[in-house]
Each structure stands twice: as C-alpha cells, then as structure tokens.
C-alpha cells in the first residue's frame, strides 16, 4: 500500500491558506514504525528465540544443579561410609578383646584383691 499523507488543520492553514479552512478536520498522521530496516515479524521472531534460549539455558542450568546435587549426594554417602568405618575402627580398638590383647595389657601385673577403707 502506498503511504498516505494526512495533514493537520494547523498545517493546512499554514500551507494552504484560508481557502482550505474548515471546522473539525482534525487529522492524525500514521507512519509505519520500524527499527531501522528490521520488520516487526523479525523482531518478534528474535524475541521468541531469545526467550527460548533463556528457557533452554534455565533448563540446562537446572540439570547442572541436578548433576551437582548428585555429586554432593555421592560425596555425602562416601563421607558417611568413611565415618561409619572410623566408628567401627574406634569400636574395635576400644573393645574389651583389643584391650586385653594390647601390648600395654601384656605388661601389666595381675591385680590384687582390694578392700574398702572405713570412712
């Protein structure tokens, strides 16, 4: 469509003189809005693309967190297992059998019967 030109009343007066004077001939001039040489469709397309990329990026980010979470959970499981191992080792080292068989115990003398001292 060929561009249309509308002229304001003030403009008409200024340019056409008194002969064109008439009442209520207010007009608005519409001109297509473009961003340089880009069409609206392209802009919408780009925006959709950007939103899509943001969505994908967020999805990827969430998946990255899931991987991190999985690694952390593995680490927790590993540390828990190590903690259990240490608890077991401690229990073994402090067991009665370990104490009785220790080198320290081997060097101890047999105890004597002990009594109570009157208060």
């Amino acid at each position: 469509m060929a561009p249309q030109t509308f002229t304001t009343r003030r403009g008409t007066r200024a340019t056409a003189g008194a002969a064109s004077w008439s009442r209520n001939h207010n007009t608005v001039r519409h001109t297509p809005k473009t961003l340089g040489s880009l069409s609206n469709a392209m802009i919408v397309g780009v925006l959709v693309l950007i939103v899509g990329l943001i969505y994908v990026a967020q999805g990827t980010q969430a998946t990255n967190y899931d991987y991190e979470l999985s690694e952390i959970e593995d680490e927790i499981a590993e540390l828990t297992a190590k903690k259990e191992d240490l608890a077991v080792e401690k229990a073994r080292l402090t067991s009665i059998a370990a104490a009785e068989n220790s080198t320290v115990a081997a060097q101890m003398e047999d105890g004597q019967v002990a009594g109570y001292v009157a208060e």
Binding site: T63, A81, V88, T94, S95
Partner: protein, 577 residues
C-alpha cells in the same frame, strides 16, 4: 494422468500412511507408549533406611557394640578380565575374603559374572579400584559389625543375609532397628542422574532405625561370660546360663549363655541351639528355688513363718504318691522349722505349706491349689510372659482346677519347682519382687536410645504390681540370708555384705518321665550392703545332657564367683565403708 497428478497422489498417499501410523501410535497405542517412555525416563530407587546401632552401658556411658559398615563384593567378568593381573591384585587386596578359586573363575570364560570376594573392607576395595582392572567391579553393601566378638551373642542375635534380624535384640526389636525405607522417583537422563524437572517427582526420605541402648553393662557382661567359661571348664558342664538384675528397676545388667557364638559368623554355627537365649527362651524346671515363692505365699496367707514347725519324715504322700526329700539325714527327722526346711530344701516342708494354704494339716485342697496359683501365676508371673523386649517362651503352670490326673501331686511338686516349666527371667523377676519389698518390675534390656549422639534414657521404671507385702519381703530376705549361711555355706560372704540365696536341683523329664541320671542345677540369690535394700539379683543355671548337676555343688560356686564380680562392677560397698 499427468506426472504432476501422480506426484500429488504419491505425496498424499505417503502422508496418509504417516498420519495413519501416527494415529495408531499416538492415539490407539497412547497408553502403552506412555508407559514405555515413563519406564525409560523415570528413575525409581529405594532409599534404604540405615539399621540402628546397638549400644551397651560402659559405666554410665553408652558404647556401641553393634554397628554398620560398608563392605564390598568383588565381581569378575572372566571374558574381559586378565587372570594373572586380577589374581595378583584382587587376591592380595582381599586376603581371606576370597570366596573363589582363580582357576575355577577363569575355567569358563563365557561367564560374565563371577563373585570372587565378599565382605571386603573399604581399604581393600580402594586398592582394587585404583588398579583399574578390566572386567573387575565392586558392589557396595552394608554389613553388621560386632566389634566385641562373642560378647552377649545370645542377647544381641544377628542379621541374616536378607537383612532381617534374627534371635536376640536384632530379631525381637527388628521393627525398631530396621527403620523404614524411603522412595525416590524422578525423571532421569541418559546418565541415570535424577533430574528435578517434571511434575511427578517423588522423594520420600528414609527413616533410619533407632539406635537402641541396652541396660547391659559391657564390662560386667564380659566378666560374667568369663566366669561362665572358666566354671564350665572347672565343673565339667557344657551349658551355663546366668542373669543379673537390678531388683529395684528390673533392668538386666548382664545376661549370658555359655557357649556363645560370634554373630558376625552366625553361618558357621553348627548347632542351632547356640542361638538360643536360655534365660528367656528355654523353659525348664527350676526346682527348689521355687520354695522361696511357696514360703512367701504361706506368709502372705498367714499360715506360716520361718519358725513354724512341721513333722518331717523324709517322705510325705500325696494321693499315695511319695514325695521324698533329697536330704534324709536322721538329724532332720521329727519336728522341724520352715527355716530348716528352707536350709535343707525339704520337699516335705513345702508340701506341708501347700496343705496349710488349703486349711488342712493332711490334705491338699482346691483352696490350697488356688492360693498357690494366685501367687505363682498371677502375682509372681510364673508361666506368663514377663514383657522383656526379647523373644520369650511362655512355659506353663497348671491351673488349680485343671482336670488332669494327679493335680494334687502336681501342685505338691510345684511347691519345690517341679511339674512346671518356667524361664529363668520369670523366676529372676519374681524373686526380685520378693526381696525388694514386693514390687514387681517388668524386666527390661532397653535403657533408652541414642539420638544425634545423645543418650535419651527410657522413662523411669515403675512397678507393674505388688507381689508380697514389705513385711513378707523382709522376712523372706532373712530366710534367704539364713539359708545361704546355713550348713556348708558359712564364710561365703565378706563382712558388711548381706547376701541371701537358694539352691535348686531338678530332675529332668525324658519321654514323659523323670530320669535319675540327669539333673539340672540352679542358684538364685540377692545381695547388697548389709542393712540396705538388695542391689542385685543373680540367677545361675548349670546343666548338660546325661549329667547330674547339683544346686549346691555346681550352681552355688558359679553364683559366688559372679557375686564377687557384680559387687566389684557395681561398686557395692560393705556396710560402714
């Protein structure tokens, strides 16, 4: 037809086929494909609950005696693995955990899965993993660990290969120890990683099992087991059991069977009776220790006390059935006191008390049986579950008006602990109530729980019923003290301690009849500082198939050894110290 039309027709046909196929897949087979997709994309994992640990008291502090450890199973793919390298690295790392012969493993290389080692500990597993051997992988698992070895094995029980608690605390408290598994159901990716996307993800966390703290004192338990082992060898009897109770709370301070077993190697036990906790699971005839209950009942009904006399002829007849005393010395014939009957364990004396309970000098009556049953069964809890947190046997005490042959002689036998089946824990709990002022406490092995490393004690123990009066209790303590001191037992206890007790020697029933070549021995007693209430009750049982065990000769010495250990461990001070 022009080429253009042919082309159009062809394209339309292809499109129609595609649309039709899509309709078939997406509409008609929608559900099936949805399920397949969900199965492929959904990760469903059980979140295993961690089994609770078991603790014993070490003085006033709980100390772990049953824990969990991560262990590994080593699996080899013979098709991919290099025999020499695997045998070198794995064999060296796993040591005695190896469960396969290498030649057998690699004999058939078409096998893709061969378990070569089980129960491999972390350090060894790490060595294998670091070697990065082809065709070797590790599978983790959880294993119960018993660092104290055989200690309290029949109390603890074990966990079988399916993860179920068996016998002892592991079995009886399996519900509390096992916890509840959780569930993870999420979308996953190709790497099997759980993803947070999706609106149907489910994560129900596991509820770990309770960490149970037992009332058993680890050091006392160890000493009791040492004594049982050494006394077994010294006395020449294969089986000994003992229980130590706090009579003022019902707490079990030690409970032991000899021989025991190592719960970590429960599969190596050849005789299944080794799993049995004889204190709670094995009803037997405790014999004359039950005279304690008969005489307490007599006192409660006011028909006798320690100085009441009866005529002893070494034998008494009930419905023409003779009941003999084990001690038949002439010095015991004639008028004797009930205290003497207690000292020398005269069955004629306890039978006479049953007659008195029934309001007769010469006959056993229904009233007598009913009164004895009221105390034996209803108050002392003999032949009833005690409520201890372990598997218990019920035993049996004949009802007073049961229509059976020889009900009177059955009851006469019951006055000295025969013709009835009870467990040691039933007798020990009842005995504790007789000597503690008449308060019956439910025996317990659970002191509380460990929560976040803190010991949370169970609620204070309250007696569940009264058995005898304070007065009867005091008189029975004195009778038990006198009985222990009497005859051959003088000098057993150091000055300042007040210790009482009673022997029991029971004939054994085989094929429905009592035999002469086998008896079981029992001793039960209490002790504490002279002038104060008892601080411990100890019960001992000694027996072996085909052997004659005596309460005086075999159970009493074990009690004496245990008594010293208990006084040491509980720091029971003599009076005036």
């Amino acid at each position: 037809m022009t080429r253009n039309k042919v082309l159009k027709f062809g394209v339309l046909t292809v499109m129609a086929v595609i649309v039709g196929r899509l309709f078939f897949i997406q509409i008609l087979q929608h559900e099936m494909w949805t399920e397949k997709a969900a199965a492929q994309q959904t990760l469903t994992n059980t979140l295993p609950a961690e089994r609770g640990e078991i603790y014993m008291m070490d003085g006033s502090e709980p100390t772990a005696v049953v824990l969990n450890a991560t262990v590994y199973t080593v699996i080899v793919d013979p098709m991919l693995a290099d025999q020499e390298a695997v045998a070198e690295v794995v064999g060296k790392a796993v040591g005695d955990k190896l469960v396969a012969e290498w030649d057998e493993v690699f004999a058939n290389r078409n096998l893709r899965y061969y378990v070569v080692a089980r129960g491999v500990e972390r350090a060894a597993a790490e060595q294998i993993a670091e070697a990065e051997l082809t065709g070797v992988w590790l599978q983790s698992d959880t294993e119960r660990v018993y660092p104290e070895g055989t200690l309290a094995s029949t109390v603890l029980g074990f966990v079988n290969a399916e993860g179920e608690g068996q016998y002892g605390v592991e079995g009886a408290l399996d519900g509390r120890l096992a916890g509840t598994d959780g569930l993870l159901k999420t979308v996953k990716d190709v790497n099997n990683i759980a993803l947070s996307i999706g609106d149907e993800n489910v994560r129900i966390p596991a509820e770990d099992g309770e960490n149970v703290v037992l009332t058993l004192d680890k050091n006392l338990q160890h000493r009791v087991e040492q004594i049982l082992a050494s006394e077994s060898e010294r006395l020449g009897f294969a089986n000994l059991s003992a229980v130590v109770l706090d009579p003022n709370t019902g707490e079990v301070l030690a409970m032991a069977d000899y021989p025991g077993y190592n719960p970590a190697n429960y599969g190596q036990v050849t005789d299944i009776s080794a799993y049995i906790n004889h204190v709670v699971e094995d009803p037997y005839e405790p014999a004359s220790v039950c005279k304690t209950f008969t005489f307490a009942t007599g006192m409660e009904y006011g028909v006798m006390d320690a100085n009441t006399t009866f005529n002893n002829e070494a034998v008494t007849y009930v419905d023409d059935w003779p009941i003999w005393n084990a001690e038949r010395g002439a010095f015991l014939l004639g008028q004797q006191t009930i205290q003497t009957a207690f000292n020398y364990s005269l069955n004629t004396g306890s039978t006479q008390v049953l007659r008195w309970l029934g309001g007769s000098e010469t006959e056993i009556t229904a009233q007598g049986r009913e009164r004895l049953y009221e105390y034996y069964h209803n108050r002392f809890g003999l032949g009833e579950y005690t409520g201890i947190e372990l598997y218990e046997a019920l035993g049996s005490v004949t009802e007073p008006n049961a229509e059976i042959y020889g009900i009177n002689s059955t009851y006469a036998n019951m006055t000295f602990g025969q013709n009835m089946q009870v467990t040691m824990i039933q007798v020990a709990a009842a005995f504790a109530s007789v000597v503690n002022g008449g308060h019956y406490y439910t025996p317990t092995v659970v002191a509380g729980t460990m929560e976040d490393g803190e010991f949370v004690e169970a609620a204070a123990r309250e007696p569940v019923r009264e058995t005898v009066s304070e007065e009867t209790s005091a008189k029975m303590r004195e009778m038990l003290y006198n009985t222990r001191k009497a005859w051959r037992n003088t000098g057993l206890d150091a000055a300042g301690y007040y210790v009482g007790g009673k022997t029991g020697t029971a004939q054994v029933i085989r094929d429905g009849a009592y035999v002469l070549d086998e008896t079981g021995a029992t001793y039960i007693g209490f002790g504490g500082t002279d002038g104060e209430m008892p601080e411990y009750v100890i019960m001992v049982r000694v027996w072996e198939d085909g052997k004659v065990a005596g309460g005086q000769e075999h159970a009493l010495p074990v009690f004496n050894a245990l008594k010293t250990a208990v006084q040491d461990e509980l720091k029971v001070r003599p009076a005036g110290m």
